[in-house]
Subunit: 355 residues, 2 copies
């Protein structure tokens, strides 16, 4: 398989290392920073450096746009213009709606791996960066099922857990679990700095403050873009946080012990649900769905399962000889997930059965 990677920093470089190691892929790469491109070649993240984004993907089976969010729209369009007919073009941006909107080329699938947030730079790239990491995919109904399946399998092969999600839901979720925490961390440090102003030496801050503000002032080159590209969801998130703070404020001002305690207990329960064990186990189950060979049908299935939280561990698409219809095989883990997947696919009026 031939892979083109545009932008060979931490994420792009790690993709290169991973697909070379796990998929025996031949990787061509481009970076607008010649030193980064050369470093990626020396590290073995790419086989070959190319001179432009277009050349990088001219012969690719899968093309990754791994540049900062603000450059993604331009680069994706450039790659779609240059990539072959049967090349899957994807990106790794942390916001999705603004990026995928209007890009209805059947070869395009938006993506976002949840990995690598702590560092940057190709010198930190590693082949196992995505092992065990959720890799969100945001197929549209225009997306080719064949190309979606190719990307899904490649990502699973490098150890990631691909999960389809609606772009708007993705952005709302990321606003909640990542962007808003960053905003609040910034607010906390600014506020503490203001409160402590005047002390020549600052008092020790406890571990709760360290933890809560670990991401304060994250790399501006990356985060300014993220805030702005996801601003609709983030504005909603901020408004909701302000309204929740208003509720706590009211309970506090009223000295309402019962309400404060209930609010705190609810937070404890929410955190357990959100972060608790929950490592879903069970055996792999194979489902087979007979699908009309039209664009979007695989995306529909992936989204239905992804939105319901059913993880597709692996998938395989087998078109019929005349290409008029095909069978998509899906593997999900655990009896509950298998039953739920059957229901969800059935609800799409697609025939499905256990293999």
């Amino acid at each position: 398989v031939r892979v083109g990677v545009v932008g060979v920093g931490l994420i792009g470089g790690s993709i290169g290392l991973a697909v070379r190691e796990r998929l025996d892929a031949r990787v061509s790469g481009y970076d607008r920073d010649a030193a980064v491109l050369e470093a990626a070649r020396r590290r073995g993240a790419i086989d070959e450096a190319r001179a432009t984004p277009a050349e990088t993907v001219a012969d690719a089976d899968i093309a990754f746009a791994a540049v900062p969010v603000s450059e993604l729209p331009r680069i994706i369009d450039e790659l779609l213009a240059a990539a072959p007919e049967d090349c899957c073009v994807t990106d790794v941006g942390s916001t999705k709606r603004a990026i995928v909107e209007g890009r209805s080329d059947q070869r395009f699938v938006g993506g976002h791996p949840l990995a690598g947030a702590e560092t940057s730079g190709v010198e930190h790239a590693r082949a196992d960066l995505f092992c065990g990491a959720v890799w969100y995919l945001t197929p549209l109904s225009s997306t080719s099922g064949v190309l979606y399946e190719r990307l899904h399998r490649a990502l699973a092969a490098i150890g990631a857990a691909p999960a389809a999600i609606d772009p708007q839901v993705h952005d709302r979720v990321m606003a909640s679990v990542s962007h808003l925490p960053h905003v609040l961390a910034n607010v906390l440090v600014a506020q503490a700095a203001g409160t402590l102003q005047g002390s020549e030496r600052l008092p020790a801050t406890g571990p709760s403050f360290r933890d809560a503000t670990r991401v304060a002032g994250a790399n501006s080159a990356i985060w300014t873009d993220i805030y702005l590209f996801n601003r609709d969801a983030l504005l909603t998130g901020i408004d909701e946080a302000v309204s929740r703070l208003g509720e706590v404020r009211a309970a506090l001002a009223a000295g309402n012990r019962t309400a404060i305690e209930a609010w705190n207990e609810a937070a404890r329960a929410d955190r357990e649900i959100l972060l608790g064990g929950g490592a879903a186990g069970g055996a792999l189950h194979e489902l087979r769905a007979s699908v009309p060979n039209r664009p979007g049908v695989v995306a529909d299935i992936a989204l239905a399962l992804g939105n319901a939280g059913v993880n597709i561990e692996d998938m395989a698409l087998a078109p019929s000889p005349d290409n008029s219809q095909g069978v998509v095989a899906l593997w999900v883990r655990g009896e509950d997930a298998a039953r739920r997947a059957e229901e969800l696919i059935g609800a799409l009026e697609i025939p499905v059965a256990r293999a």
Copy 2:
């Protein structure tokens, strides 16, 4: 030295272990939970179990009230009624203004060690729990200098860094660096749980979410009291956070890249100042101040230095034979701190010089 500890959980138990080990103290203890009291005795946190708080401190040189915040006012008053004339009575509550207000007995000094937030229970008590930890003290002008010095030396002997602070400043600082982070963590998990509602399986959340919400839903038995006892400062903190969120919101809504970037860079700088290295070094300097032997003067000095962030590493008080005045010796680390301490004590119109 004889130490009485009322409430022998994590903090009280650790105080017992530490003063027995480091000060060769004889420790009497009380807990309203007989099983906890017995566990403390078995663990060696106390030499002797007593039947009531009053009996526990009847022969003490230092009495620690280490019960939940909501019970502190009653217990402190009980200890002040029962303790000898020359016994220093202190507490370990995480909020101070509501507790020290109106308690002008010269034997009383409010206290708050910044340690042990992660666990609770005497089974986690350790002699080194306070090593290197800031231990805030909130002397009032009524506080006896002799007793303040005794407490300061005992705390330093068990490895803590005692630091005097105004009770209102303490509460504002704790609201900023501890209570508000807890509130925001609760808000974040509630909001994420709401956003993710409907997913049967929750998507992986990144490390930023884990870190930001580590303290969400902290022990309600402790935190409901903390929120309520520090509610004035916390309400102010919430209002300020809401106002800061409003500023970010406006910049985001306007798509103001310059403002967002500047805000993020400021947060980065604030965090470096707040949490950066800053391990103040330098040699110990001894200062000697001649003080009239009146209550409050040592507290005044300790507060002046504490509020300016000058740490008193050690102190010793030498009353004159007729008790009409005395010399307080103070050790501070580094030339800058020594010079600043001289200025601050001089500004109190107290004669001071390097030893």
